[in-house]
Structure formats: structure tokens, C-alpha cells
């Protein structure tokens, strides 16, 4: 409240609270600074996991042992998965962009529980560190895969416990973030902002937050049971102790499938913000997009069995889960049609955020269609546990959520740092990323169909062509990552000063200075029209 309307603008980056300097960052309860803390940590962990990924690609360039032994490889794909899933993909979008923009977009000064927000950041950090530590200390890196399937995970002599604890703590952090967002949206919307005047990124976070709150405790208790099984020898899942391993798979996927929607829904929310801005047109089908988010969140609870077609579940339940899986495709497709219709007839300006958003649609659709291949029982049994699955979920998670993350980064960068990045470098980075991504993962579909199993460090000579192309793609992709991150990091401090609204966006975050002030708004705004209102001229096409 230090700056009045006429006073000089002090951005949140320069704002000094009770503590100064580094401590001012580490003990901040400002949602924007917490968002940035997440961003920096996630970039670091992302590079750790990406380097593990590229090392695996190098190992797979030729059959037999190339640069590492089988056990090291097992550890690498496990830690790569655990870090990527639990430390990056699940928390990234809600924790970074959600924290930063959710309060601003609904016209609030902060989230409902700022201290809890900081607490969940530290839980996240502790969990992430446990995850990385499990690779390096004691009995060797865990080798169960990120899915921790019992009985192997209750018997393996490696650091499985550290990884389980990491996932448990990260889950707790995710629950608290979700809880915070739900309460924020229920209680802190600006006057006049009814539920149906809320922009769609907050809506997607709302759907996500409910999944975080309702599904994560199930994986929490499941991981605790595996820990109890290992430490106290209490039998739940391990047949040697009387338990049932298929029950573990059920409980694990009851969370972990909805978790896929925790990953993708905020990504969909981000591109939903980008399309109207860059076509200068209201979003097509606001209500349809909103309800399809909720529908995905709801139906997503009941499809976990499609991970278990080959686990020995009954024909009836396989039929049931297959049907429901196909049902999820409907709301996803509704969104795609709406995005394309938003572009139709708009005055399109092809800037880097839109380029990433369009790539998102393209890659997400390849991932989605191959998801149908996996969702139908007959074809799934053919390609289960092959490289086809690897390609499919990388298209969804990296091509979908990852590209949406990049899109959001390029879209909100001027607002976050108050600077512009270099457009040309952004295009070059995108070119490398997009090409590298497809060269890396598309061959995996083909060799997967031909029978290349996933998680194998060795393979038959006939798969080598595909593997070599993939590895080349991996390096192109990595180059693209370095160009993109380099461009953003360099220009965060040195770029041209960004105006308050470089893209002519209409949601609330563009109506305040870049970077925003400590309290976001000098005066809480009054909302008197629907979101994505571009004025009468663009309404009448």
C-alpha cells in the first residue's frame, strides 16, 4: 500500500519487506517471489533429469554396453522418471504460473494462505533433494522405475526408501498448493468476478487443484504402505508377506492416472490464454472449455485400469476401463476444436508464445491419438511395455505439458521480469526444440510397434537405426533447450524494457505494470464484463 496511484511504481522484485537480500527471497510470502523460487529450482532439477535422459540416449546408440552398465541404466531411468514426474511435471505449472498469475488474474493481492504457500515450497525442496540424493547415497540408485511396482520395490536392495519418501513429501506439498488455490478461488475473487467471469487458466487450475487434493492422499498412503512393508515387514502387496501385488497397481494408478491430468490441465489452461490474445478475439466456447476441464478431471478418476490390461484384471473391467478411456478423449477434443476456432478469422500475430501454443496442439494430438491405440485393449496388449508407450507419454507430457510450459514462459516473461526476450533467438530455439523433439520421439513409435521393449539398456540389432535417429534428435532437442533457456536467462536482466501490455492481452495481469508491484493492484479492480472482452470492434467481425 506504499505506492498510491500517483506515486512511483516499485516492482515486486525491488520491494523490500521485513528481510533484505537473499533472506528476503527465502522467507518471502509474496506469491510472485514464491513462484520464481519454484521456477529456479525446477529449471535446475529439469537439467539434472534432462542430462540423465541424454546419457540414456547415448547408451542406446548401439546394442550392448556403450557407456554404462545395466544397473546404472536402471537407476538412471528411475531417477529420470521420479524427478521429471514428481519434481517437475506435476508441480511446475501450478507452482510457477499458478502461484504467480492466479491471484493477479482473479484480482487478488495474494493467495489465501501465503505462509502455507512458502511452507509447501520448502516441502517441495526437501522432497526434490531426497529424490536426487537417492541416486547417489548408500545402496545405489533405486531401480524400480518411477512406478515402484511391488514386489520388486519391496525387495530391491537399492535406495527405494529415499525415493518413496521423496514422492510422499512432494505429494504433500502438491496437496497444500492445491488446497491453497481452491480456497483462493472461492474466497478472493475481485468484486464482480463471478465464477463465469474467471479466465480459463484459473479455471484449469481449479480443476487441477481438486485432483491434487482428492487423488494425492491415495498415493501418499500407498507409498507409506510400501515403506511399512519394507521397514516393518507388514504385508500389504508383497506375496511373500501375504499381500497382493495387483492391489498395489490399482492404488498406485488411482492416483497416478489422475496425476496425468494434473500435468496437462494447467498446460491446456495456458494455451487457452494465449490463443485469444494473439488472435485478438474472444475465446471460442468459453463454457465448453471450462466444463471440459471439469469433465476431464472427473472422468480421469475412473480410467486408471487402462494401465493394467496385462496385469490379470478381468475381461469385464478391461472393457469398462477401455470405454471410459475413450470417453476422456471427448472433452480433450472439444478443447482442440475450440482453440482452432478461436484462431479462425482472428487477426493472428505469429509471435513466439503462439508458435509454442500451436506446437502444443500438434504434439498433443499425436500423443492423444496414440493414447487411443493404448486405450483399446487389443492393441494395448500388443504394444504394452514397449517404446511405443515411451513415445506416447513423452508426446503428451513433454510435447503437451512441456511445450505449454515454454509457451507460458514466452507469454508471461515480459510480465514476470519486465523485460523482452529476443524474438529471433526464440524462433531459432523453437526450431531446434520442435525438430529435435519429433526426431527424438517419433522413431520410438515405430520401433515400439516392431517390439522394442521399454526400460531395456540392450536391444536387438534391428532396432539400431531407430535408436540412432532418436539419439541424434536428443542432441538437437538439448541444443534447443540451451538456446531457449539462454535467451530467457540473458534477457531477464538485459532485455529491452517491456511495456505493461506487449501482446495487447485483456486479462487482468496485462492491466497492471510490468513487473507488477508488491501488492499487484493499487486498487482492487471491479469486474463488469466477461473475460476475453476485446471491445466492440473485434466482437463484430
Amino acid at each position: 500500500m506504499s505506492n498510491s496511484e500517483t506515486g512511483t511504481h516499485v516492482s515486486y522484485l525491488e520491494h523490500e519487506g521485513k528481510y533484505k537480500g537473499l533472506l528476503g527471497w527465502l522467507l518471502t510470502t509474496d506469491h510472485k517471489k514464491i513462484g520464481l523460487l519454484y521456477l529456479y529450482c525446477i529449471i535446475v532439477f529439469f537439467f539434472v533429469a534432462a542430462i540423465l535422459g541424454i546419457l540414456m540416449r547415448v547408451e542406446l546408440i548401439a546394442p550392448g554396453q556403450t557407456i554404462m552398465g545395466a544397473q546404472t541404466y536402471n537407476g538412471m531411468f528411475t531417477i529420470h522418471g521420479i524427478i521429471m514426474i514428481f519434481v517437475i511435471v506435476i508441480p511446475a505449472l501450478p507452482a510457477i504460473f499458478g502461484n504467480f498469475f492466479l491471484p493477479i488474474m482473479i484480482g487478488a493481492k495474494d493467495v489465501a494462505f501465503p505462509k502455507l504457500n512458502l511452507f509447501s515450497f520448502y516441502l517441495f525442496l526437501i522432497g526434490a533433494i531426497f529424490g536426487v540424493l537417492s541416486q547417489f547415497i548408500g545402496g545405489g540408485a533405486p531401480d524400480t522405475g518411477w512406478t515402484f511396482y511391488v514386489p520388486y520395490s519391496s525387495q530391491s536392495s537399492t535406495n527405494v526408501i529415499y525415493a518413496l519418501i521423496a514422492a510422499f513429501i512432494l505429494g504433500f506439498s502438491s496437496i497444500l498448493t492445491g488446497l491453497n488455490f481452491i480456497v483462493t478461488m472461492h474466497r478472493m475473487r475481485a468484486p464482480g468476478m463471478g465464477w463465469f467471469r474467471m479466465p480459463l487458466f484459473p479455471w484449469s487450475l481449479y480443476a487441477t487443484a481438486w485432483i491434487q487434493v482428492l487423488a494425492t492422499p491415495i498415493v501418499g498412503i500407498t507409498l507409506l504402505m510400501v515403506i511399512a512393508e519394507r521397514v516393518l515387514k507388514i504385508g500389504f502387496f508383497d506375496p511373500a508377506l501375504g499381500g497382493d501385488p495387483v492391489l498395489f497397481q490399482h492404488l498406485f494408478w488411482i492416483y497416478s492416472h489422475p496425476a496425468v491430468y494434473i500435468m496437462i490441465l494447467p498446460g491446456m489452461g495456458i494455451v487457452t490464454e494465449i490463443f485469444p490474445t494473439f488472435s485478438q478475439k474472444p475465446i471460442f466456447g468459453y463454457t465448453a472449455i471450462l466444463f471440459s476441464s471439469l469433465a476431464i478431471a472427473f472422468v480421469g478418476y475412473f480410467v486408471w485400469g487402462h494401465h493394467m490390461y496385462t496385469a490379470g484384471i478381468s475381461t469385464g473391467s478391461r472393457w469398462f476401463f477401455s470405454f471410459l478411456t475413450f470417453l476422456v478423449a471427448v472433452p480433450s477434443a472439444i478443447k482442440v476444436f475450440n482453440w482452432v476456432s478461436t484462431l479462425y478469422g482472428g487477426s493472428i500475430e505469429m509471435r513466439p508464445p503462439l508458435l509454442y501454443a500451436i506446437s502444443f496442439i500438434f504434439l498433443f494430438m499425436i500423443g492423444g491419438f496414440t493414447g487411443l491405440t493404448l486405450g483399446s485393449v487389443a492393441t494395448d496388449i500388443q504394444v504394452h511395455d514397449t517404446a511405443f508407450v515411451v513415445a506416447h507419454f513423452h508426446y503428451i507430457i513433454f510435447g503437451g505439458m512441456g511445450f505449454a510450459f515454454f509457451a507460458g514462459m514466452h507469454y508471461w516473461f515480459p510480465k514476470i521480469f519486465g523485460r523482452m526476450y529476443n524474438d529471433k533467438l526464440a524462433y531459432i530455439g523453437w526450431g531446434f526444440l520442435f525438430t529435435g523433439f519429433n526426431v527424438l520421439y517419433f522413431p520410438q513409435f515405430i520401433i515400439g510397434l516392431q517390439g522394442m521393449p521399454r526400460r531395456y539398456f540392450d536391444y536387438l540389432p534391428q532396432f539400431q537405426t531407430g535408436q540412432v535417429i532418436s539419439t541424434i534428435g536428443g542432441f538437437i532437442l538439448f541444443t534447443g533447450l540451451i538456446i531457449m533457456v539462454g535467451n530467457l536467462v540473458y534477457h531477464a536482466k538485459r532485455g529491452a524494457i517491456a511495456p505493461a501490455n506487449p501482446w495487447k492481452g485483456v486479462t487482468l495481469e496485462w492491466q497492471i505494470p510490468s513487473p507488477p508491484s508488491h501488492e499487484n493492484f493499487d486498487e482492487i479492480p471491479e469486474i463488469n464484463h466477461a473475460p476475453y472482452f476485446f471491445g466492440n470492434t473485434s466482437e463484430n467481425k
Binding site: R187, V213, I218, G235, G242
Partner: protein
Amino acid sequence: MSTHSIHSEQIESETGKLGMWIFLLTELFLFGGLFLVYAVFRAQYSEAFHAGAEELNAFIGTLNTVFLLVSSMTVAMAITAIQKDKKNLAIFLILVTLILAGLFMMNKYFEWSHKFEFKLYPGSEVLKNLPRGELLFFGLYFMMTGLHAIHVLIGMTLLAINIFKIKNGEVSSKHYLHLENTGLYWHLVDLIWIFLFPLLYLIT
């Protein structure tokens, strides 16, 4: 911020309570996972679960249920007391709650050590030689009551903190959200026990 109007005080407390309710929902789901496992195994090994339940002492279980139910009442009375600005009464009622919780834990301790005397603990030879269903029953018994006991301890800590907060004025007739949320948490601990007790001790 003593200038806060009563109105914004109320908003803050409503927000805090909404957060607590959602948190309690996640706690229910946490135990829900265990209840699910219980349901699956009970359906598969209903006779063994019957035999397992016979081994448990329903008298101690009933006594513990009474302790928790009464403690839920006293904590609710403590909230009413603080609303009426009767600090000493509130502290007294919280102390009674703590004593009842302590009695519950003491009973639990005797119950568990009694099991241990008969070499009935996870990983023991005796347990391993029991039929598979009974093995699973006792596994669930220790896990469920153990996790519940951890929740009792957390609840006791929260209650103890409230005593200090009342003493130094942080919890008062105007600001009692902290005590109210602790009360909600305590009711949850109670509620989960209400489900655990019949499932483990009574249904035979």
C-alpha cells in the same frame, strides 16, 4: 493490525476454516486408501478376519472409544468457553481433553505390548505362520491403529500449543480460529477411530 474491522476478521476466519475442511478431506482420503485395502482383503479372507477380530480385546477398544468421544465433547466445550471469554475454563477443558487423549494412548500402549508379548508383531515368526488372511489382518491392524495413533499425537501437540496461545492472548474470544481448527482436527481423529473400532474389533 488491530484496526481490522470485525467484518474482515470474519472473512479471515471463514477462509481459514474452508482450508481446514479441505485438509480434513485429504486426511479422510489418506485413511480411505487403507479402508479400501481392508475392504478388499476382508472380502477375500472373511473367515480369517473374523478370527483376527476375536483376538482383539473389545473391552479396551470400547473404553478407548469412550475416551475419544468424551474428549471430542470437551474440546467443543473449550471452543464455546473461549467464545464466551472464559480463558481459565477453556484451558481446563483442553487439559481434560489432553488427559483423555493420554489415557487413550496409554491403553493403546498396553494393547500393543500385550500383542508383542505373544510375539504378534509385524515380521515375527508367530505372525508369519498364521494363515494368510490373519497375517493381513494384523498387518492392517498395526498400520491403521499406528497411523491413527500418530494423528492422536499430532492432535495432542496442537491442543498443547493452544494452551500457550490462550495464555499469551493469541487465541481469544475474538481470535479463536486456531482453536476451532484444532477442534475440527480432533473431531476427525475421533471420527476415524469411530470407523476403525467396529471394523477391527466388533465385526466378527
